[in-house]
Symmetry: C3
Subunit: 259 residues, 3 copies
């Protein structure tokens, strides 16, 4: 279960900050990963709440510490709820993370992503390369909700998007990129087998939302968080069913500061 | 994996009764916990069926052995289905368990809970303290769908609710309370780490529905069931990912009478 | 974790073909099993994409390698999406697998199943005996979405259905039956404990969709796939929580050719 890095005491790290703050994260997310997202947030000490009815999202977002909008299984009902929740979050200074799952895969997802970015003040976009390309209007060959392939200057594109929308951008991949439009952090390491756990990217977006609710220095804390997430994916390496279990176990230990 | 209690043969216990009866439990529940609920019911020998379309819930509830209504990710479509299913269940003497997830967290959830309690004859309300407070109209500081904190005479409030709605009430927490409005059982023990498994409360509600379908003495059998559930949570203790696996394993063994 | 069969190198088997092709499988499925289905498809190297909004299913189905329609938690919105996705799949020669979950349990499910079979050219129906009986209009005592019990000549009925709808039919049970209306394969073995993992049948349907996208000889490849699935269920045998983990692990190893 362990890489060569082995156990170590971690000090002042990002997942621990979340575990100390225990933020309430309002998630409007897809039904494929809702359970894994909730369990992943619980593993690090955050409190997930999934609520997507238009009748209540305004209230729920207003009392949450952060809001996650994930369009993985979007439909007209939940898009309206995302807009209402987002407006409430903006009105109450609740930070929003947008995960534009599958932007570029269908025109509907691209259009919805761009509409949400126009209507709301988003604090962070967490996406893969294909989704970044879709937001930027760059040609790309996507494959469903997976990243796909194409030519893209990830760093420059991410910086442009960050400046256009006045937000942070995280593009995950073999190398993760974090930018605020000026500064850029590149994070390497990890193990790409984690992409075979459905929702590992969606969970990262949810954890980023928990991070924004727990941080006074989002850029630094998110960079550390990305390093920790890659570390967890490395430590969790194993057969696919075992990897799920390991991943939650290591997230928990990291958040508790016991590894 | 084992607490100091160790293995033991259990005789005439509640989970075993469910395993003998193998009831069909119609669940209208939230998409976060639907999979875990189905697997938990299967682990104890019950047959879950999830169906929430207005076109079929009347028929499905009429042939089920019990009905679970869980408002965890309610919306106008599923509320209408809960009402229709509940009316059908009432007409066919199929017992109903209501899990008012997040009542008190938003006005919409509180209102929906009270409406369902007015419209339907519910056999059991299974809730946490925050939800109990919401049903009773008591001030409480809730935190999303978690229990939250506040001052509340749990036993007295539960008894009042039980009498008002002519039903059983279970309030889970460090000490579980079961009441029919007159008798009260307090169940201690267990391990609160189980609350870090999303849906552990929702699954308990579903198992209570299976219990009502398998019992000639609901009050006694539910009290025993709560003891067994706490015991399982103790035995399952471990790192969070491992706890999930252990929990299903111990539920199964308990239901089969092999521990 | 191993049956007496032990490890062995498998050559030119069905799961390996999927792992080589890595097809994009568009799933319109139920929220109970969506996560398990996605993880199971990822375990064998396929790319799942869940999208059920009417605004995008036409586009998504047109770029997919196969389409799964599973009515486990159907409603009017998703039925319309299944029809639209199916028509797009037909127009683009994308094979369709229909999993008529719970047909026979309610009139709504039976009617929807028959309507989809009338409106669409389906390549494969993957069902249990109760669902087969419902499609054939045979009397049967179903139990929710489980198979139920009754008298049925499975092989003759499956052959008739296959001929009527010009498709392959797989009826799973203690003995699986595969037919194209003329040829019949019977597959025995496996372990029925796998039916206690919710969605094991639904996942099989999704894997059959991945198979159709990866095969030049569907009848032969599906017959082998059924053997492999039964083998995996045997190897995965264990306590219920452990069985989940084992099942994904063995699917992965089989697809990678390492067992």
């Amino acid at each position: 279960m362990k890489s060569q890095v082995g156990y170590r005491r971690c000090t002042s790290l990002s997942l621990r900050k979340i575990n100390e703050k225990k933020p309430l994260v309002h998630c409007i997310t897809n039904y494929v990963v809702a359970n894994f997202t909730a369990n992943g947030l619980l593993a690090i000490g955050a409190s997930p709440v999934m609520a997507d009815a238009i009748e209540e999202v305004t209230e729920m977002a207003s009392i949450a510490d952060s809001l996650l909008l994930n369009i993985g299984t979007l439909n007209d009902r939940t898009i309206a709820s995302m807009q209402a929740a987002g407006q409430s979050a903006n009105a109450h200074q609740v930070p929003i993370v947008l995960d534009p799952v599958g932007a570029g895969a269908t025109e509907f997802r691209t259009r919805t992503t761009l509409a949400l970015l126009e209507q709301l003040k988003v604090s962070l976009i967490r996406c893969n390369m294909g989704e970044l390309a879709a937001i930027a209007g760059v040609n790309w060959h996507s494959k469903g909700v997976d990243s796909g392939s194409g030519e893209l200057d990830v760093v420059q594109t991410a910086k442009t998007i960050a400046r256009n929308y006045h937000c942070l951008v995280i593009v995950t991949g073999e190398t993760d990129v974090l930018t605020d439009g000026v500064q850029v952090e590149r994070i390497t390491g990890g193990h790409d087998k984690i992409t075979k756990v459905t929702g590992s990217g969606c969970l990262l977006s949810a954890i980023c939302a928990a991070m924004l609710a727990s941080s006074n220095d989002p850029f630094t804390d998110l960079a550390n968080l990305l390093r920790e997430y890659k570390q967890v994916s490395e430590w969790a390496y194993g057969p696919i069913g075992t990897l799920h279990e390991n991943f939650l176990n290591h997230l928990e230990r990291f958040a508790e500061g016991t590894e």
